[in-house]
């Protein structure tokens, strides 16, 4: 779909690079109203240098997503909400100072105390309105930058000089011009509304499913980005997403749930209704099985994860730690809310067994004939993603980067996919391929699991088929999970608990159990992986700027894929939560027909 009309890969002409030079300016056809308005207002905004004094703007960037969304919520066979909206979501950035030292990376970066007059974009293609909006947005972004810069200088003036060589605040990238032909697939509101209602009716067939819900989001629209370094990109930025959740209650009161998330970048690759129906029925079946499964006891011993569960685990333990946010500058002694990466100091160290290689490659759009969710042409800074070899022979080699330099990694590899903190973007994975050079078929790994449990005199081993990732339990469950994780000496970052976990008895019999979560599982555990399976699975999900990629949270969506083999762990700890369990409802369910 994307049409690249040429890539201008010229280096920037020195640090005084004043924006678009006449020669590198793309010629914009007269009917490209938005591009013309962006170019003209960007050009005019340079005049702000006159009023800026010491901290003149050195970088401007405009981006706009022209979105049309259809959002349908349904439950038990009926639609609960339909919202069809059309909106233009703008972002204007102004950086003052220089690439080495600018307004970002301070605890107050991006915070503006003045009043806002920008933000509501016209839906009509009106040049004058576009210019006015860009003018007001630029003004606000410029004032925000100046204000942040003043606070940053004040904090630095009050702090002892750091021993480490200061990092630049912004890296340079080669400008890219790629004005893709964009198209919006036709979305039939009525057909989708009917489909949603029919799909949500599936759970009426399960008497063990007490409550359920389904959400369908069809998001279409191009994203356009233009910056003062000469980058102009426009590309299709669609996403088609269905997620559903079903809840039940076990006889002892324990609340059980399962969820599914189906996402696609193209409407014609979005699964057919019959396939969606299967996926939803599967979670209904799982809830029914869980409600009737025995409650689990604490376990410590070997654990085998099937490829899907392994991919869900690696998305968290590897994926989230490949993003290294920079600690913001602040006033001395002031507490800064900040979650560092567990990998921050581990470059060159072993993070996986020697047989493992991990590559993130967002330039791939298919894998074994199946569409990859983590493909994207440009990140939120207009940088095309590069394949990144993050782990080689078990050793951590690289991080996923944005244009905010991190120590040892001064340039962007095009992974600014989510909004970040303190004036910068956050990196996130695209397609993460986890490969092992030594693999064993799953059937043999299961035998090995049984051998290990026998040798250690345990009655059973554990097999995990699915984790609760993206996390689909409620917010209070996440709090209790985080608390339990911190108390059990694990990481401050909780790990999704298993949804489908089985006892594997010496005779090979599998028994589903319910109510276990990991204890003390962190990225360090990955070094103790014993073996990987020959079979691999591609696991898609939608990453959001929220812990455990909470299902349905956050306005910014970064769909991603993880391809992983199954994994055998020498020893993991699992424990049941100590929560008090609620009674069953006093009144029996109304729909006794099911």
């Amino acid at each position: 779909m994307l049409f690249r009309c040429g890539v201008v890969a010229a280096g920037l002409a020195g640090s005084a690079a004043w924006l678009i030079s006449q020669s590198s300016e793309p010629s914009i056809p007269a009917d490209e109203t938005l591009l013309r308005a962006m170019r003209d207002e960007l050009q005019r905004s340079k005049q702000l240098a006159v009023v800026a004094g010491q901290d003149a703007p050195y970088f401007f960037s405009y981006s706009l997503t022209d979105a049309e969304t259809l959002r349908i919520s349904a439950a038990n066979g009926a639609v609960v909400n339909v919202a069809h909206s059309r909106f233009r979501s703008p972002d204007a950035q102004v950086r003052v100072g220089s690439y080495d030292f600018d307004n970002t990376g301070h605890i107050y970066s991006g915070i503006y105390s003045g009043s806002r007059y920008d933000g509501n974009w016209p839906l009509d293609d009106d040049y004058a309105s576009f210019r006015t909006e860009l003018w007001l947005s630029t003004d606000r972004a410029f004032k925000t930058a100046v204000e942040s810069m003043a606070r940053k200088r004040a904090s630095l003036n009050n702090s002892a000089a750091s021993a480490a060589e200061p990092l630049p605040d912004f890296s340079k990238v080669a400008p890219v011009v790629s004005i893709g032909k964009v198209s919006r697939p036709k979305v039939d509101d009525e057909a989708w509304t009917g489909r949603a209602a029919r799909l949500a009716a599936i759970f009426n067939n399960y008497k063990d499913v007490l409550s359920s819900g389904m959400e369908l989001q069809l998001i279409t629209g191009p994203t356009t980005l233009m910056n003062s370094e000469g980058t102009t990109v426009r590309y299709n930025d669609h996403m088609f997403w269905l997620y559903a959740k079903a809840d039940g209650q076990a006889p002892d009161g324990m609340l059980m749930h399962d969820a599914v998330s189906i996402q696609s970048l193209e409407l014609d690759k979005f699964p057919a209704e019959a396939d969606m129906r299967k996926s939803l029925a599967e979670i209904g079946d799982n809830v029914r099985a869980l409600v009737n499964a025995p409650a689990a006891e604490s376990y410590s011993g070997p654990v085998l994860m099937e490829p899907r569960a392994a991919a869900q685990l690696l998305a968290q333990l590897l994926g989230d730690n490949l993003r290294v946010p920079r600690r913001p500058l602040s006033d001395p002694g002031r507490n800064v809310p900040f979650a560092p990466s567990e990998f921050e100091t581990r470059i060159g160290g072993r993070v996986l067994p020697e047989s493992f290689d991990v590559i993130d490659d967002a330039t791939q759009s298919t894998y074994n004939g199946k569409a990859l969710a983590g493909f994207y042409p440009f990140d939120m800074e207009g940088v095309p993603p590069k394949p990144v070899s993050v782990v080689e022979k078990g050793v951590l080699k690289s991080f996923l980067t944005t244009r905010q330099p991190i120590r040892g990694f001064p340039v962007s590899n095009g992974h600014a996919r989510l909004p970040g903190s303190y004036g910068s973007f956050a990196a996130a994975i695209g397609n993460m391929f986890v490969k092992s050079s030594e693999t064993t078929p799953m059937a043999d790994l299961k035998k090995r699991l049984i051998d290990m449990t026998k040798m250690r005199g345990k009655p059973y081993g554990m097999l995990v088929r699915k984790l609760d990732y993206p996390y689909s339990a409620g917010g209070s469950d996440l709090q209790s999970l985080a608390q339990a994780s911190a108390q059990s000496g694990g990481s401050a970052r909780p790990v999704s608990p298993p949804i489908l976990i089985y006892r594997v008895y010496p005779d090979g019999r599998e028994e589903l159990v319910r109510g276990l979560r990991f204890r003390g599982l962190t990225s360090r555990t990955l070094r103790d992986i014993l073996a990987a399976s020959t079979e691999t699975e591609m696991f898609d999900f939608v990453n959001v700027a929220a812990p455990l990629a909470i299902l349905g949270a956050g306005g910014y969506l970064a769909p991603a894929s993880v391809i992983s083999p199954g994994l055998l762990f020498d020893e993991l700890e699992l424990e049941p939560p100590q929560d008090q369990l609620p009674k069953h409802p006093t009144v029996p369910p109304p729909n006794t027909a099911n």
Binding site: A30, D31, T33, D40, E41, R44, S45, Q47, L48, V51, S73, A75, N76, G77, A78, V79, V80, N81, V82, A83, H84, S85, R86, F87, S113, G114, S115, Y117, D118, N120, W121, P122, L123, D124, D125, D126, Y127, A128, S129, R131, T132, L134, W135, L136, T138, D139, F142, K143, A200, N204, L210, S211, P582, P585, T586, V587, P589, P590, N591, A593
Partner: protein
């Protein structure tokens, strides 16, 4: 013949069979109530389900372009369960504890799908029952630790069941046509360069309420709301943010004024903003003033209306300004105040505070709260207070909140009326008498707020938009900017000396404990011998550095894409 038709229409709307939604809700109500009464401990003695269905269109245009186009449909369920007895139930208020909230707005199926709605209702009932039962058990347990409350009235009253089915008709509305109109109207603001952010907004909304209770009440009723809001925002050279606004309210979009009249309103908002941007800053001032009918309405709503809401007389954290004032003078003897939710219209203007039944299913009725200056009663929900055992149809809320007593259409009547011109002469005379250079005329206000709590100041603020100085020496009136009216309630009333003979409407939305509810005020302009104004808290960031971009280049391609 004519009366026959009317009669027939009346009968048909009342005798209409219950709707599918009423049937689904009633059946589920009976089922849950029966089981909970048998097995629940504590058992409920009253339950109700209320569904608020909203169908709304919103269109916003700015500078000739469409900015927002939305169609939204929602249906929210609220569940009320009262456990124990009417004398003491789970809603019982205790000192130093917030008013409890058990309900949540649960979104339910937009169509009358029995299976889906029953499932949602059952789950919401279970959740609400658990929360209520838990609180009642706790309150009963520690009741002996508490001293007796001053007000020992019951927690819930007895009301006659109401049955009425007349859902409002679906509105006929053409969004494309309106989009074209709004584009044209909003383009007019381009002529006012100081207006940084402007819009012409249109909203039409039908709200239908369905209520079933274990008392036997079965209601389905509602009303449409249509309004246009014209707003212009700008920033003065010293950083002060300024706004002007014009509004039109009616029930049917077809009844909105013609484009020429709306255009005049756009021009008025633009001209007022331009005037304000250049106007001098107001000085803190104490002296005589005229409040326009709209400003007077807001003042009454804030400083008076909120203090005669019944539940505040019982809540021991409240200031209770008027609790002991029944049959005592609280206003000048030439003023009376009535709350009349049955009043649908004032002139051409549809009144926001109009409804047939309140959110507890109590029939709406006019309530004279102050008669010739004497306080007669309070606004009552079904939660009794000392001396007032029954509701007078003012229990209101928005979805997801618990009921408290709220205002409806506040009407200020006066027996000391003069013409607007005479009122102005009286102001100038008062200015001279007090030896002041000028008095103030508050033309337009946007909003106000008040604090009624025991902790903190008993005070109010009203935020005026357009204020003039009226000079004693005959100079023309002068627009000023940056004033807030401030004061303490009781002191303010005594200073009203006369009113105009022309009533004005202010339609608004009032936000308080039980959420946002539509309200209106109808009041004459007031002459007050003394009012206090303070300088508005103002932002100091400067207007945009660069001049507005040139727009002439665009003229060729202006307008929507085909």
């Amino acid at each position: 013949m004519r009366s026959l038709i009317a009669l027939f229409a009346l009968v048909s709307s009342c005798a209409l069979a219950q709707t599918p939604l009423v049937k689904i809700l009633s059946d589920e109500l009976d089922r849950n109530f029966t089981v909970l009464k048998q097995k629940g401990d504590p058992a409920p003695y009253f339950m109700s389900y209320e569904v608020t269905s909203t169908d709304s269109y919103a269109l916003v245009a700015s500078r000739g372009s469409l900015e927002t186009q939305q169609h939204n449909q929602t249906r929210y369920l609220d569940v009320t369960i009262r456990d124990g007895s009417a004398q003491f139930d789970n809603y019982h208020l205790v000192a130093n504890e917030n008013r409890p909230r058990f309900t949540q707005a649960t979104p339910i199926a937009l169509e009358d799908n029995g299976a889906a709605i029953r499932q949602a209702v059952w789950l919401a009932t279970d959740r609400t029952y658990r929360a209520g039962a838990q609180r009642l058990i706790r309150l009963k347990g520690d009741e002996k630790l508490r001293t007796q409350a001053t007000d020992t009235s019951d927690d819930f009253d007895k009301e006659d069941p109401q049955v009425y089915f007349a859902a409002p008709a679906t509105l006929k509305f053409n969004p494309t046509e309106w989009a074209t109109r709004l584009r044209k109207l909003s383009a007019e603001f381009s002529k006012y360069p100081g207006a940084l952010d402007t819009s012409v907004q249109f909203e039409t909304r039908t709200v239908t309420q369905t209520l079933v209770t274990t008392d036997g009440t079965r209601l389905e009723f509602g009303r449409p709301f249509t309004r246009m809001i014209i707003v212009a925002n700008g920033k003065a050279q010293d950083g002060m943010d300024l706004m002007t606004m014009e509004t039109f309210e009616t029930d049917d979009p077809a009844k909105l004024p013609k484009d020429a009249d709306i255009l005049a309103a756009v021009q008025k908002a633009g001209a007022n903003l331009t005037g304000l941007l250049a106007a001098p800053l107001a000085e803190p001032y104490v002296g005589p003033a005229i409040l326009s009918g709209r400003a007077a309405g807001v003042l009454f709503h804030e400083i008076f209306g909120h203090r005669i809401e019944g539940h505040r007389q019982k809540d021991e954290s409240e200031g209770q300004t008027f609790t002991k004032s029944i049959n005592l003078p609280v206003l000048p003897d030439f003023l009376s105040v009535t709350f009349d939710p049955t009043r649908k219209q004032f002139g051409d203007v549809a009144l926001n505070g109009y409804y047939l039944y309140d959110d507890e299913g109590v029939k709406a009725r006019p309530v004279t709260v102050v008669d010739k200056g004497i306080l007669k009663t309070f606004l009552m929900s079904r939660s009794p207070i000392q001396g007032f055992a029954n509701s007078n149809g003012h229990g209101r809320k928005s979805p997801g909140n618990e009921i408290v007593s709220r205002q409806s259409n506040l009407i200020v009547d006066s027996t000391k009326q003069v013409s607007d011109a005479e009122l102005r002469q009286m102001l100038i005379a008062e200015v001279k008498r007090q030896n002041k250079p000028y008095g103030l005329f508050f033309d337009q206000v946007t909003s106000g707020y008040t604090t009624t709590g025991r902790r903190g100041l008993q005070a109010f603020t009203v935020v005026p938009l357009v204020v003039y100085r009226v000079y004693a020496d005959g100079r023309p009136d002068e627009l000023v900017r940056g004033v807030d009216i401030v004061g303490t309630p009781l002191a303010s009333f005594a200073k009203i000396t006369a009113t105009s003979n022309r009533m004005e409407v202010f339609n608004g939305v009032c936000g308080a404990e039980s959420g946002n509810v539509p309200v209106a005020t109808i009041a004459p302009a007031l002459l007050v011998s003394e009012i206090e104004v303070q300088r508005k808290d103002s932002s100091r960031d400067r207007p945009p550095y660069l001049a507005p971009p040139p727009s002439s280049i665009s003229s060729a391609i202006r307008g929507p894409r085909p």
